[in-house]
C-alpha cells in the first residue's frame, strides 16, 4: 500500500531521534560530598579512665557489610604540650551496623585544649576542638543548718552558669530522690544553686494539689525520717564548647566538628554532700 508523505517522514525521524537521544548523558551524582565526609561522636569525662570516640564515614551505605571497614586515621593532639596520639579503632557490630570506636585510655588533663582529627584517604579531615574543664569543686556556704534553712552551694571554677548542670537529692528508705536545679550567678558573680532541704522533700513527695495544705505543718516526709544526714549534689561541668549543655547536632553540619558531623565535648562530674541538721524538726 502506498503510504505517502507521513509514512516516509516519520520512520526516519524516529530512527534519528533514537540515535540522538539514546546516547545522551544518563548519570547522576546523588552525593553532595564537597563538605562533610566523617562524623565524630564522643566526649571526655575527666573522671573516666577510658574514653570512647565513634567515627563513621557518612558516605558509606547503611548496610552491615559496607560498614565493616573504616578507612580513616584518627589522631588526638594535646594543644598545650603538642603531644599527638594516634588512636586505634576497634570494630563492633552494634545493632544492625558495625561501629568503629576509638578508645582513649591515657589520662586526660583538666583545663586542656585537645584537637581530634579524623582523616580519610582522600585527605579530607573532620576536626573538632574540645577543652576540658577543671576538676570543679563545690562548696556549701551553710552546713549543719536546720532543714528549713536555705543552703547555697557555690562552684567557683565555673565561668558560666550555663555550663553547669546540677541535681540535688537525698536518701529515703534506701532510694535516692533528686531534682534538677538551675544554676545562676550570685551577686558576687559566682555560679551557685540555692535549695531548702525541707522544701525539696515537699516538692518531691507532694503533688501540686497537696501543696496547698500547709506542707510545713504536716509534711509528707520529715527530715528526721531520711536515711542520711546530708543532701547530695550531683553536678556536671561542661567544657566551653558545650556551652548550654545542649546537644548541638545539626542535620547538615555540626557547629563543633569542622567539615564533619557529630559532636565531641568534655565534662567533669562529681558528687558533693551537704551536711544538714536532720534531727531538728518543728
Amino acid at each position: 500500500m502506498k503510504s505517502g508523505f507521513p509514512y516516509q517522514i516519520i520512520l526516519p525521524a524516529v530512527f534519528i531521534s533514537v540515535m540522538v537521544f539514546s546516547s545522551c548523558d544518563n548519570t547522576i551524582q546523588p552525593f553532595e560530598d564537597e563538605d562533610a565526609v566523617l562524623s565524630i561522636y564522643g566526649y571526655f569525662k575527666l573522671s573516666d579512665s577510658t574514653h570512647y570516640i565513634r567515627v563513621r564515614d557518612i558516605n558509606q551505605p547503611l548496610e552491615v557489610e559496607a560498614t565493616k571497614e573504616l578507612d580513616a586515621d584518627v589522631t588526638l593532639e594535646n594543644l598545650e604540650n603538642g603531644n599527638i596520639m594516634s588512636l586505634n579503632g576497634h570494630t563492633e557490630l552494634m545493632g544492625e551496623l558495625y561501629a568503629h570506636n576509638f578508645p582513649v585510655d591515657k589520662p586526660v588533663q583538666p583545663r586542656t585544649k585537645y584537637r581530634l582529627t579524623a582523616e580519610n584517604p582522600d585527605g579530607k579531615k573532620a576536626v573538632s576542638y574540645t577543652t576540658t574543664p577543671p576538676f570543679t569543686q563545690a562548696e556549701a556556704l551553710q552546713v549543719d543548718e536546720h532543714c528549713t534553712t536555705e543552703v547555697e552551694v557555690i562552684f567557683p571554677e565555673v565561668e558560666k552558669s550555663s555550663r553547669l548542670c546540677t541535681r540535688v537529692g537525698f536518701f529515703y528508705r534506701n532510694n535516692f530522690y533528686s531534682l534538677g536545679y538551675h544554676p545562676e550567678e550570685n551577686e558576687d558573680g559566682i555560679t551557685s544553686i540555692q535549695f531548702e532541704p525541707q522544701g525539696l522533700i515537699n516538692i518531691i513527695f507532694l503533688d501540686e494539689f497537696e501543696l496547698c495544705h500547709h506542707p510545713y505543718e504536716n509534711p509528707p516526709v520529715r527530715c528526721n525520717e531520711l536515711d542520711e544526714d546530708h543532701f547530695r549534689i550531683e553536678y556536671r561541668h561542661y567544657g566551653p564548647e558545650w556551652d548550654g549543655y545542649r546537644i548541638p547536632v545539626s542535620p547538615v553540619e555540626s557547629i563543633d566538628v569542622k567539615r564533619g558531623l557529630g559532636f565531641f565535648g568534655a565534662f567533669y562530674d562529681n558528687l558533693y554532700d551537704v551536711p544538714v541538721d536532720t534531727a531538728f524538726v518543728y
Partner: protein
C-alpha cells in the same frame, strides 16, 4: 474559606429549583443506543422538525446516551436521530401541552457507509477543550501496552501535563498537582488510587471503559473535593443482545472478560478480571526481578426500561510489591468500590433524576515483607443526586453530594513512637451550573459550588466558569477558557523526597489548626481543525495552589502526621497535533511547565537560609514530548510511542549518619540512630528519560465466532537506562523498565 452571603443565595436558589415545576409546553426525552449491542451512544444528534422540515429544537446525547429537549409547543413533528455510521431514525410525533414523551431509540449500523464511517470514526476521537479531554477506548488502543488490549494508565501518561515519577508506583501528577489532589470517579463512585504498582496499568483495561472525561484543571461545578484534576470514568455496560467474551495472556498479565444479556434488551452483565504475571516472567525476559503482584476485578450490571436506566458497579483492585527490590520495603494498596446509579426520566417526573449511592474503601500499607509498619485507610459512603432544570432553552444543572467518611492510620515507625488516629467526617456539597448559549458562537457555563464539612463553620465558596467561542459558528475553530476556585478538605501525606515509596497517609484537614488547601485555576485554549484529518490544540494554564500539605524535612527517615504547608504556582503551555488519515495516525504533544513551591523554612524544617524557602518539587516536569503513531498495512497494525521527559528534581544527600545523643548515650554501648542528611531540598535534577515502545498486532479469524488477536511488541526498544530511583541507604541505582519484549494473545468469541 469565605463567609459569603452568596452561599445563602446559592442554597436558596438550589431549593427553589428543586421545587420549581417546568412550563406547560411539551418535552421529549430520548435515550439512544446501538441496536448491535444495546450500549448507549453519546454524541448522537436528536432533532425535532416541524411540518415544514424546519428545526424546532435539537440536542446531542450525553455519555448516557440521553438527551432532553424542552419547550416544544403542542403540534405535529418529526423526531430525527442521527449519528455518524448509523442509519438515521425518523418518527412522526404528535405532542400535547405538558406532555413528557419518552423514546428509547436503537440505531442500526449503516452498512453501505461503512468505509466512510471507519474513516470518520477516528476523526476528533479525543475531544479537547481548555483542560478537558474526552477519551474513548479507541484512543487507549493506540498506545502500545505490554498486556492484552489498551489501558487507561498508558494513555494518560501520553497526555501533556501528566507526570509520573517513573514507571512504578501508579501515581499521576497533573499540571503541578499531586496525586492526592486528583478526583477519581468510577460510575460516580469516588475511588482513591485505581492505578497499579506498575504504572503501565490502571484498574481499567480499555475493554471495560465506555468513556473517560479527564480535566487537567478548570473543571466545572459538578466536581468538588479536589484541587488539581478530575478523572471521571464511565464503565461500559454489558452487551444487551448476545453473550461475548475474551481471554488473553501476555508476559505481563492474564485477563478474561465475559458480557451478555441476562434478559435481552433489559438486563446485562459485564465481568472483567486481570492478574499480573510479570513477577514470573520478568527475569527470563529482562534479566531483572520485578517483584510486583496485582489484580483487578470489574463488574457492571445494567437494568433498563423505557423510562429509566439503572446500573450497579463493583470494582476491586489489589497491589503488592516492592518498588525498589533492593530495599525490603513492601507496599500494598487495595481499592474496593460498590455502587448503584439510576437515571430516572419517567413521564411523571418534571425533571430527570440521576441518583447514585455507593461505598468505597481504600487501604494502603508499607512495611517489611513480614510485618506491616504503616497503614492508612479510607472508608467512604457517598450519595449523589443530579438534576437538570430548563430555564427557557438554557439548562441548569444542579445537584447534591453527601459523603460520610472514616479515616484511620497506624504508623509504627522503627526507632520512633507509635502514632495512630481515627477521624470521621461528613461532607455536604451542592452545586449549580447554567449552560447558556447566547448564540451559536458562544457557550458560557457559569457555576457555583459549595461544600460544608463537619467541624468547619462556614461553607466554601467555589465559583467556576467555562466559556467557548467559535468564530465561525462551528467546532472546527474554537477558543475556550476555564477558571475556578477549588477547595479540598482531605490531605494525602507522603514523603515526596523518597521515590522508593508511594505510601500515603490520608486524613481530613485538622478542623482547628490546619488551613484548607485551595486553588485557583485559569486555562486558555485554542483548537483548530483543518479538514477532517488534522486537529491542533494549544493551551496555556496557571494553577495557584495554597496550603499544600507537605511532609516535614526530618533528617530521620520517617513520615509524620503533622505537616508543613506550602503555596505553589504552576504555569505552562502545551500543544497537541493529531493527524488521522487511515491507515495512518499520528499524535504529537509537547508540554512545558514550571512548578514552584514556597514554604516557611521553620515549618518545613529545611536547614536553608532565610525565612521562606522556594523550591521546585519532585514533580516539576519542565519539558515533555510524546509521539504516538500507528499504521495499518496488510491486516497488521503497527503502533509506536515515544516519550521524552526532562529530569525531575531530587534531593542530593550529604550522607548517612548514625547519630549519638552525647552525653546521654555512651559511644561504647549505644548503637546510634540512623539519620539521612539531605542537601538543599530538590537542589538537583535527574537526567532526562525517554523510551520507545513499539507493537504490531493482527487479528486472525479462527471461525465465524472466534478470533485471535496477536500483539507482539517491545517496551523500551533501545533499552535506555532511565533512572527511577537511587537508594540513599544502599547507594544503588534502580532504573525503569529495561527492554521488555512481549507477545500478547487475545481470543475473542461472540
Amino acid at each position: 474559606m469565605v463567609k459569603n452571603p452568596l452561599n445563602l443565595l446559592f442554597l436558596f436558589s438550589f431549593v427553589l429549583l428543586a421545587f420549581t415545576k417546568q412550563s406547560d409546553e411539551a418535552q421529549i426525552r430520548v435515550v439512544v443506543n446501538s441496536a448491535e449491542d444495546g450500549t448507549p451512544l453519546p454524541g448522537a444528534n436528536v432533532i425535532v422538525l416541524d411540518q415544514q422540515d424546519e428545526i424546532v429544537t435539537a440536542g446531542s446525547t450525553n455519555r448516557d446516551g440521553y438527551v432532553q429537549l424542552t419547550h416544544i409547543p403542542a403540534g405535529d413533528y418529526t423526531l430525527e436521530v442521527r449519528f455518524l455510521g448509523y442509519e438515521t431514525y425518523e418518527e412522526e410525533l404528535t405532542l400535547r401541552d405538558g406532555q413528557n414523551l419518552i423514546r428509547r431509540v436503537s440505531l442500526t449500523t449503516a452498512v453501505e457507509q461503512l468505509d466512510e464511517v471507519v474513516v470518520e470514526a477516528f476523526e476528533g476521537g479525543a475531544y479537547r477543550q481548555a483542560g478537558r479531554q474526552t477519551v474513548s477506548p479507541a484512543d487507549l488502543g493506540r498506545v502500545p501496552t505490554p498486556g492484552p488490549g489498551g489501558d487507561l494508565a498508558m494513555y494518560l501518561q501520553s497526555l501533556p501535563g501528566i507526570t509520573t515519577t517513573g514507571d512504578r508506583g501508579g501515581e499521576l501528577f497533573v499540571r503541578g498537582g499531586t496525586p492526592s489532589q486528583n478526583i477519581i470517579l468510577v460510575d460516580h463512585i469516588p475511588v482513591t488510587q485505581p492505578f497499579h504498582i506498575s504504572s503501565l496499568f490502571s484498574a481499567f483495561p480499555a475493554s471495560v471503559i465506555h468513556d473517560v472525561e479527564f480535566y487537567a484543571g478548570g473543571f466545572g461545578a459538578e466536581y468538588t473535593g479536589g484541587v488539581s484534576s478530575v478523572l471521571d470514568i464511565t464503565m461500559r455496560q454489558g452487551n444487551m443482545k448476545d453473550v461475548s467474551g475474551e481471554a488473553a495472556v501476555s508476559p505481563y498479565l492474564a485477563s478474561a472478560l465475559v458480557e451478555g444479556p441476562l434478559e435481552t434488551d433489559r438486563q446485562s452483565l459485564l465481568i472483567s478480571a486481570r492478574r499480573s504475571l510479570i513477577d514470573r516472567f520478568s527475569e527470563p525476559l529482562t534479566g531483572e526481578e520485578v517483584p510486583v503482584d496485582f489484580y483487578d476485578l470489574n463488574l457492571r450490571y445494567t437494568y433498563q426500561l423505557p423510562n429509566f436506566t439503572c446500573s450497579a458497579t463493583a470494582l476491586h483492585t489489589y497491589d503488592e510489591g516492592q518498588i525498589n527490590p533492593l530495599r525490603e520495603t513492601t507496599l500494598s494498596w487495595s481499592n474496593t468500590a460498590l455502587g448503584g446509579r439510576c437515571l430516572l426520566f419517567g413521564e411523571a417526573l418534571d425533571h430527570p433524576f440521576d441518583v447514585s449511592i455507593g461505598f468505597s474503601r481504600f487501604t494502603n500499607t508499607e512495611g517489611t515483607p513480614d510485618q506491616v509498619e504503616r497503614r492508612s485507610e479510607i472508608n467512604l459512603i457517598h450519595f449523589r443526586m443530579d438534576r437538570q432544570y430548563n430555564l427557557t432553552e438554557h439548562p441548569i444543572h444542579y445537584g447534591l453530594r453527601w459523603d460520610l467518611a472514616r479515616y484511620n492510620a497506624e504508623l509504627d515507625e522503627r526507632f520512633f513512637d507509635f502514632e495512630d488516629f481515627e477521624s470521621r467526617i461528613a461532607n455536604f456539597r451542592a452545586f449549580g451550573a447554567l449552560e447558556w448559549e447566547p448564540s451559536d458562537r458562544f457557550t458560557i457555563i457559569p457555576g457555583l459550588t459549595s461544600q460544608f464539612t463537619t467541624g468547619k463553620f462556614a461553607p466554601t465558596f467555589e465559583p467556576r466558569l467555562r466559556m467557548t467561542f467559535r468564530p465561525d459558528g462551528s467546532e472546527r475553530r474554537e477558543f475556550s477558557i476555564a477558571a475556578g476556585r477549588y477547595y479540598q478538605m482531605v490531605e494525602g501525606i507522603s514523603d515526596e523526597r523518597d521515590a522508593g515509596t508511594v505510601f500515603n497517609i490520608w486524613k481530613p484537614m485538622d478542623t482547628i489548626s490546619d488551613p484548607e488547601p485551595w486553588a485557583l485555576h485559569g486555562i486558555i485554549g485554542y483548537r483548530r481543525q483543518l479538514g477532517r484529518r488534522f486537529e491542533a490544540t494549544v493551551e496555556g494554564y496557571l494553577k495557584n495552589h495554597r496550603n499544600i500539605p507537605v511532609s516535614k524535612w526530618t533528617p530521620e527517615a520517617r513520615l509524620e502526621l503533622e505537616t508543613a504547608f506550602a503555596d505553589g504556582i504552576t504555569y505552562g503551555a502545551d500543544i497537541r497535533m493529531e493527524y488521522n488519515r487511515r491507515p495512518f495516525y499520528l499524535l504529537l504533544g509537547y508540554d512545558w511547565s514550571v512548578v514552584t513551591y514556597e514554604a516557611a523554612t521553620d515549618d518545613l524544617g529545611a536547614w536553608v537560609a532565610g525565612d521562606l524557602f522556594r523550591y521546585h518539587p519532585a514533580h516539576d516536569q519542565r519539558h515533555q514530548v510524546n509521539a504516538i503513531t500507528s499504521y495499518d498495512i496488510g491486516g497488521y497494525t503497527a503502533s509506536l510511542r515515544w516519550e521524552l521527559q526532562t529530569g525531575l528534581p531530587y534531593t542530593r544527600i550529604r550522607g548517612n549518619d548514625v547519630a549519638i545523643p552525647i552525653p546521654n548515650e555512651n559511644p561504647s554501648v549505644f548503637p546510634g540512630t540512623v539519620v539521612t542528611i539531605f542537601d538543599e531540598p530538590f537542589g538537583a535534577r535527574l537526567p532526562a528519560t525517554h523510551r520507545l515502545d513499539v507493537s504490531v498486532e493482527r487479528t486472525f479469524n479462527l471461525s465465524p465466532r472466534v478470533s485471535l488477536l496477536a500483539d507482539a511488541g517491545v517496551i523500551n526498544l533501545y533499552n535506555r537506562n532511565n533512572i527511577f530511583y537511587y537508594d540513599s541507604r544502599t547507594f544503588q541505582r534502580m532504573d525503569q523498565t529495561p527492554l521488555l519484549p512481549y507477545l500478547a494473545l487475545t481470543a475473542t468469541f461472540n
